[in-house]
Assembly symmetry: C2
Homo-oligomer: 489 residues x 2
């Protein structure tokens, strides 16, 4: 062990031993009786306080000990004189690895706006807020792998560069090695992709689902966890051009099993964060409380971050059909008072305002909506046998065994479905929506040979991190966000 992390030190707190701590100066405070240096090494949100006598450190040395400088400090661990920490370090030796010129170092000990910190994404992990976010992000990622491993799923690395468009929609990034200025052309004057690296036009994947299904129809239960891409030119707090997706896919699972799995999965990973990130979540809980105070009373959240997380973990998710949800929305106060921006009727895609009404006002818990209209969902979703009807016997259009998990504040956090396992129905639907069956011959092979009921879902990892950290902008929960005109670092 080259050094002991501050997290380990504070946990074991072996008072009386001599230790070496390595880390970055958060603050330095000089009084008549002592010099106090708060050191952080990124292993925890907590700092360790190193204390020296006033004349113990030379002026030259003291000048180098400024916020952001990196030190190795050796000394005895003693019970802390001040409050807020159990132990502090009585300095016997200080080595400055690297100074941080206070006139140039951007992260001085004051409040920085999230916008400013986004511009220095290479340094922001050195702040309390971003180091906490990244540690929570790590814990969630580990919880994802642990959950699936514990439950008999196999991790499947689906391809990033692909010649297919899983959703039959979505704008994609082209991947190429052709000469950009003068690409080779065919006789018809189109780009001749047969001369490109892969011998065909290729893009960055928008989803690993189709390949995930191939895995499930061989290994039983698989999951993906990798980057996916959307070339949408939308500058919002909810969209990234590059983000990480988790997509489990399970043979022999029908819609009900899929719902049960999604609920158990998301509760388990959030519980893992609550159990393993107490200090970071307490800090982020506080941060959000401070931020809420700047809002108008009526816009403030009823629940604190920690309350919201416990709320999700402790409550059974409300499950209902899209058709029943439409009934509720049509009978809701905001609908009757004309307060929804978008009108509700059977067949429309629900807007965020509708989803949030159901979750936050009506049920006051996470909601799983199922059996959506076929027309607004992807071609691969299993078709229901009967069209939807409401309580009064009114008959609507055909539906599919889709499910969306809706969370407070976030809206849709998980989207999934049972998959169409009937070859003929699947091909007919592809043709209806204009997807060439031949282009997906390998996908259709799973329905040609040994087809079986199966289901799966997708979870945008950053949406989960956003929810668990209580942050408001998705660019603040991924280390190096990619968005229109943004590819620095």
């Amino acid at each position: 062990m080259p050094y002991q992390s501050i997290q380990q030190l504070l946990k074991t707190a072996p008072v009386g031993t001599v230790v070496t701590v390595k880390g970055w100066v958060r603050t330095k405070r000089e009084s008549k009786n002592a010099v106090f240096i708060a050191l952080n090494d990124g292993s925890t949100i907590n700092t360790i306080q190193a204390v020296a006598q006033p004349d113990q450190l030379s002026d030259d040395l003291l000048r180098l000990i400024t916020t952001g400088a990196c030190l190795s400090v050796t000394g005895e661990l003693v019970e802390s004189q001040g409050s807020g920490q159990a132990v502090e370090l009585k300095i016997s030796d200080v080595l400055v690895y690297g100074p941080a010129d206070p006139d140039k170092y951007p992260l001085q000990p004051k409040r920085h706006s999230l916008e400013f910190l986004r511009e220095i994404a290479h340094l922001r992990p050195r702040t309390n807020t971003f180091s906490a976010i990244l540690r929570v992000r790590h814990a969630l990622a580990f919880a994802v792998h642990k959950y699936f491993n514990d439950n008999g799923f196999y991790y499947l690395n689906t391809p990033i560069i692909t010649a297919s468009d899983a959703e039959g929609a979505g704008e994609m990034f082209r991947v190429t090695t052709l000469d950009a200025t003068k690409p080779p052309l065919t006789e018809e004057g189109k780009v001749d992709y047969s001369q490109d690296f892969f011998g065909r036009e290729t893009n960055l994947t928008v989803s690993g689902q189709l390949e995930g299904e191939l895995g499930a129809m061989a290994l039983g239960k698989i999951y993906t966890f990798g980057p996916t891409f959307r070339a949408e030119n939308s500058n919002t707090t909810r969209h990234l051009a590059e983000f990480w997706m988790i997509e489990p896919e399970m043979a022999f699972h029908e819609l009900e099993d899929n719902m049960a799995l999604a609920e158990d999965f998301v509760k388990t990973v959030i519980r893992y964060a609550l159990d393993n990130c107490a200090d970071d979540l307490a800090f982020l809980d506080n941060r959000l409380k401070e931020e809420e105070k700047t809002k108008k009373k009526e816009e403030q959240s009823e629940l604190s971050l920690l309350e919201k997380l416990r709320f999700v973990v402790d409550n059974e998710f409300q499950k209902l059909t899209y058709t029943d949800a439409i009934e509720i929305l049509l009978n809701s106060k905001p609908a009757k008072k004309g307060q929804f921006q978008y009108e509700v009727s059977w067949g429309v895609d629900l807007q965020s305002e509708h989803e949030r009404y159901l979750v936050e006002k009506h049920f006051k818990k996470p909601v799983i909506l199922t059996n959506y209209p076929r027309a607004i969902k992807a071609f691969y979703m299993k078709q229901d046998d009967e069209p939807a009807t409401n309580d009064r016997g009114q008959v609507f259009g055909p539906t599919v065994r889709a499910m969306d998990v809706l969370f407070p504040g976030i809206g849709e956090i998980i989207g999934g479905s049972q998959r169409e396992d009937n070859y003929d129905k699947l091909v007919a639907r592809m043709e209806e929506v204009g997807i060439e069956p031949d282009a997906l011959w390998w996908y259709l092979d799973t329905r040609r040979f040994g087809s079986a009921p199966h289901a799966g879902f997708g979870l945008g990892f950053e949406r989960l991190v956003l929810f668990v950290t209580g942050m408001g902008n998705i660019r603040d929960v991924i280390p190096f966000p990619r968005a229109p005109k943004q590819a620095e670092f």
Copy 2:
């Protein structure tokens, strides 16, 4: 639980209970006294044998039960009459989910060549060999996350789309949304990337290291585990255009710490596979033995797969400098007899034949070579203070604190180094090799502000899977390989 996996069933083997098994038919065998159906569901390499009386299943049903068909079989678990398994299923009910026309289904119960299976990569996970490989791959991936999590590392998702080239080398894939046929041009006739999605030219990452260093200089210890890309037009058994890399990066680690970590890491994950994939590794061990038998005696491996894995786990890696390795190679039999294809002298990049001589013939264990000539390594590696010398006092050129971990059969499996933390030396080296320091301003900021000794390494995940599974072609250890002219599925 919608069903119990065969892995679980065989583990608990509750003889006398009635269970439902869902899976794909591997083989069907009919005798006068019974019908035997071997079912596999991908959860394990093992099949469960389901047995019916000869007249119990109708002819129509029996016709559908062919290799590759998917069934749900209910029956009583009884002690097996035959050998090779503890229990078998006495069929009471069979449901065919999906048949597999024997005239069309490509995976009939006979030996298929790996080349043929590569062409049907969407189905090959249904074979014993590939399901075993993918389960081992999963176990190794999980072991990687577990190792780093257990040791205080944080998982950092470095960007996939990037405007920088970490190594200052390597051919890259361009990522773009510009019109392919008629891209916008600048006045000078060059492609106007300011109009591209990111407002600049972007590529797929070749390494997350530089961004990883940013993380380490804030969080202490981080690791990446994500896809990386090389647009090299090389059709070999060792190269992929898209592969997964693991890159830990640690503040306050010097070369020796880096070596110790690399050794402990790779031993721990291989030990995890040995402990958790016994059945699959036994199968792959056997597969390799059969394959070896087809080779000439002198080309056969001395160790079986399992012996090789235990050998790595049980032996301390041999550590020596590049300069000492050159001495050994110069004095070796093959050098003296002129049997090396490439000549050896101080300053050359070692070839696979040299690395394998050191590992397989000279030391007969994994080797970590350190302190390579500066000229053949990347700009970011920490420069040694003194030039290399040999035992006889001969002085060679400047070296860097690089390390390569060499494995039997594979050659280099890990490459890493302590990083240059001195701003001036780093900038000077960048200028020497023609990298514009301004383009990496954010990278240099870690040396401007709070610099510290740090180190890291990279492990190509597929190289590890190749080693642990004993496969010969890297395209057989990733589900959907990407290579020149290959982007199907």
